[in-house]
Structures are given as C-alpha cells and as structure tokens.
Subunit: 250 residues, 2 copies
DNA sequence: CGTTGAATTGATACTGGTCAATTCTAGTGG
DNA sequence: CCACTAGAATTGACCAGTATCAATTCAACG
C-alpha cells in the first residue's frame, strides 16, 4: 500500500521536520505554512467573501458571526487554538471571522486543502468527523437558543469553556477571552442580562469571580445541572419524547 | 491498497444499473434499496441510537429534533422528499427523526454509504457540498433563534417553505405539512404565539389562509422583508459590522 | 349531530430587553 | 504615585414581547 502524498508520513521520516513536530491528521497540513499574526478585533475574512483559504488557529481565539441587515449580530462560534476554521464552506464564506484577542494562525489554500483531503484515505474520515463535530455543536446551539433560559445559557457557556480549557490541578477556573458583548451575542442575550446572570450565580455561590474575565467553578455538576444538561448516569432523558407531546415543561 | 469488500464499485461497472435510471449523485446510491413506509408520527430512529443507516426521503416529510431532560423540544429541521437524512453523524444519531405525515423512504447501511462516498471521486464533492448546505442552514437557524422576533421567525418559515415548494403557476401557495406545535418547536416559540402571528399576518394582508395548513403569499418580497432578510440588489448589509459594535438595532 | 383534538382567542404574568445612571478598571499623563 | 479619562461592566427602574393559563371556536370523523 502506497500512500502517495507529501503530508502523511511518519514523523521520523524528515529529521528536520520531526524536530519541528509535524502533527498527524488535519492539523499537520498546516505545518509548513508561515505563521501570521492578527491583532485583536481585526477580521480574517468577511461573510460573503470568496472562500480562498482554510485556517488553523495556533494562538488566541476567533469569533465567527453573522449579522442581520439592521446590525443584530449572532456569534455562531468561537475558535480556539488547535482548531480549524473554514472547513465547511461553499464558494463563499458563510460568516465573518474576527480575532477576539491577538491571534496567530496558519493558512492553507482551499484547493490545496481539498485536494489533500481528497487524495488521502487517512484524512478523509478525519475531515468528516470534524465536520460532524461542528454539526453536533451547531445543533446544541440551536437547543440552547431556542429553549434555554438566560441562566441556562450562561451556565452552558461556562461549562463549555470549562471543558475546553486546559485542566490544571486545583480548583476549576474558566478564563473568558471574550467580553460581555461577545458572550451576549453568542448566547442570544444582551450584555445586561449576561451581567445580571453572572452576578446572580456569584451570589448563589455557583461561581466565584477571580477577575472580570475568569471564574472559579465551585461545583461542576451543579453548573451542568443549571445548564439544563444531564449528567452521566442520570436517567432524566427517559421517555421525555412521546410523539406530538413536547415543549411543555409542565 | 486493497479494498476488501463487495460493496463499493464505480457506478459504470454495472451496465444493468446504468440502464435502470440510476440517478446521478448521492441520491443514486439509494436506487436499488427497497421502499419502506412509516406512518405519521412514527420514529425512524432515536437520538443516541447507534447510527446504522442513512435515509433518502421519497415521499412525505420528516422532523428531526432534540429534547431536553424536562421535555422541552427543539426541531432542528424538516426533511423533504429528495433529501437525505443522517448524512452528518458520528457513532450515534444526534437527534430523533419522526414522520410528520406518512413517509416513504429508502435506507442504506452507513458503512456502505461511507465506502461509496470514499471511493468515488465524483461523489465526494457532492457529499461535502451537501454537508455544507446543512451547515449553512444550521447557521441561519441560529440567527433566527438568537435574534429574530416571533413575526420574523414565522415569516422566515413561510419563506423557506415557499422556496422549497414546487413552483406552480398562479399565486404562490405554501402548504404546511406540520401542525402548529411542530412550527412552534421549529421556531423556538409556543403554539399560541405562532397562532397569533399568523392571525396578525392575515389581518394585515400579507398572507391569505386557504385552509389551516395552506397560505397564499400575497407579496413574496414583503414576506422576505418581514422575515428580516435582505432582497437581492439590496445594500442593507453594508458596513453593519464594525468590530465590537453589534446587536443594538437602535 | 355529538365528540375530540387542534387551533384560536383572551387575560395575565414574567423573563429578558431597553434606557439611564453608576461603578469599575486599565491606561495615560502629570 | 496619584488624579484623570474612556470604555466596559454593573446596577436600577421600567417596559415590551412572549409565555402561561384558561376559555372558546373550529374541523374532522364517527
């Protein structure tokens, strides 16, 4: 069996690169690309632009969003280091991507990316898996936006960030790279509601603010409950869904 | 590289199939599969089930939805004839799929489907394109759920159905296969709000009900405007998105 | 023509939005 | 090191839109 492309080799085959840590999988495609820096608030591309590149975030966080004609904004996602941006797109970008803070990333031509995927039987399932993750996340966002209360939304975000954050020893501390407006536009709320909710959670001892942009989570399970999610081993999902009966908590 | 299974051959390799009106593209994969019928309200599969098949809807409409622990439901999409269900999934189905009315569909083993895609350089881009469509639609749903008013939501649904429906000569009539509860759970509203909004649109002459489940659209452009979408040739999208300023219509 | 579930309509409550004032925080310059 | 400033976040008062609860009407079907 011959693997006929330059991307997928065992790390040891290029001594120079091996030191340079060629990553396996989709991220490895970006290893040879130069690193570019975007300052906080700058756009990587705009919704509707012709799609030309795919990006890998190395450092910093991106927000991707869409805007209605009158300025209402909805952030459809945040992209963290190690994640890929622009993987699912058509001719044109579906959304605008902006740097939340200073961002370092590598870009790859869309055609090159697609060819690499298309030619590698190893990468293809990774690509599909990645897209499915994105889809699963999008569906969870729909649930949140359609049916969750303000408090459940804020808790869901904290929980998501807690899970995404590096696990350090000691108490769980969530760092928020984004400001309150970003949080609000991600959750479909206003900054005032986000602020009030955070205050309330603090007063009730669910979280303890270390700063405006970092919170210690007192009990993760408690947060998960408040987020409207069901913990492992819970049986609450059972028979909630007899056909034609739904959406009436009471 | 040896592919050791019986399923995946290039389409041209079976002359019999070529004559048998094999549809091109992804839908063609289902041509040889038997037709099965599901009565209104029955589930095709449940969220969390091990994912085993992909489906093509031939007749009728499906709803796909997720449910929170306390019974709140959100319909993430409706699947119409000619569309494929279950294309983006992991090990397990991400949602439950139910028949809105009597549904006829064909099913294909997930492994067979994936192998067929994986081995056909023709199908792969179609598959990617299909997933990207799904993603684009999911993102539009997020915008709707996060930032649109009840009226904008209802108009968006009518508009979507109008675009999806077969174009007959004469006035544009939208048929709704689903009941008010389905509409509500699709739009993140309650049945009462949906009902009131429809009444209001009727009184204002935007739509004219032919029955409870069919409406004539008086002016499509009007509806698009009320849906918060911008018509072709409109310039309203321009510079709505200066960084850090958003989500304040006024 | 009565029954039943769906849809509509009405009255009221409440969550979250809006507008405005205040406080906090990170810079900046004296 | 300490005002001063500007933007962000918080807090408060009030309001609007949608949910909730209840009653009524509608439409399909026996």
């Amino acid at each position: 069996m011959i693997v006929a492309n330059a991307v997928s080799r065992a790390p040891g085959q290029f001594p120079g690169l091996a030191l340079n840590a060629v990553k396996p999988g989709l991220l490895g495609l970006f290893s040879r690309q130069p690193l570019e820096t975007h300052e906080s608030g700058s756009a990587i591309f705009w919704e509707g632009d012709a799609a030309t590149h795919v990006f890998k975030v190395v450092e910093g966080v991106l927000r991707i969003f869409k805007i209605l004609a009158d300025g209402r904004r909805i952030i459809t996602g945040f992209i963290y280091p190690g994640e890929i941006l622009g993987i699912s797109l058509d001719e044109r970008y579906l959304y605008t991507a902006e740097a939340v803070n200073e961002v370092k990333l590598r870009r790859l031509g869309l055609n090159r990316f697609r060819e690499a995927i298309d030619e590698s039987a190893e990468l293809r399932p990774l690509f599909v898996a990645r897209i499915c993750e994105e889809m699963a996340s999008a569906q969870n966002r729909m649930v949140l936006l359609a049916r969750k209360s303000a408090e459940e939304r804020v808790c869901s975000l904290l929980l998501e960030l807690a899970r995404r954050a590096p696990r350090r020893p000691g108490p769980i501390v969530v760092e928020l790279p984004m400001n309150r407006l970003d949080m609000a536009d991600y959750l479909g709320l206003t900054i005032e509601t986000v602020s009030r909710t955070v205050t309330s959670l603090t007063h009730r001892g669910v979280i303890t603010p270390s700063s405006r942009y970092a919170f210690e989570i007192r009990q993760l399970s408690n947060l998960a409950c408040l987020a409207g999610e069901v913990e492992e081993g819970d049986n609450a999902l059972a028979d909630a869904g007899m056909a034609q009966q739904a959406s009436r908590p009471h």
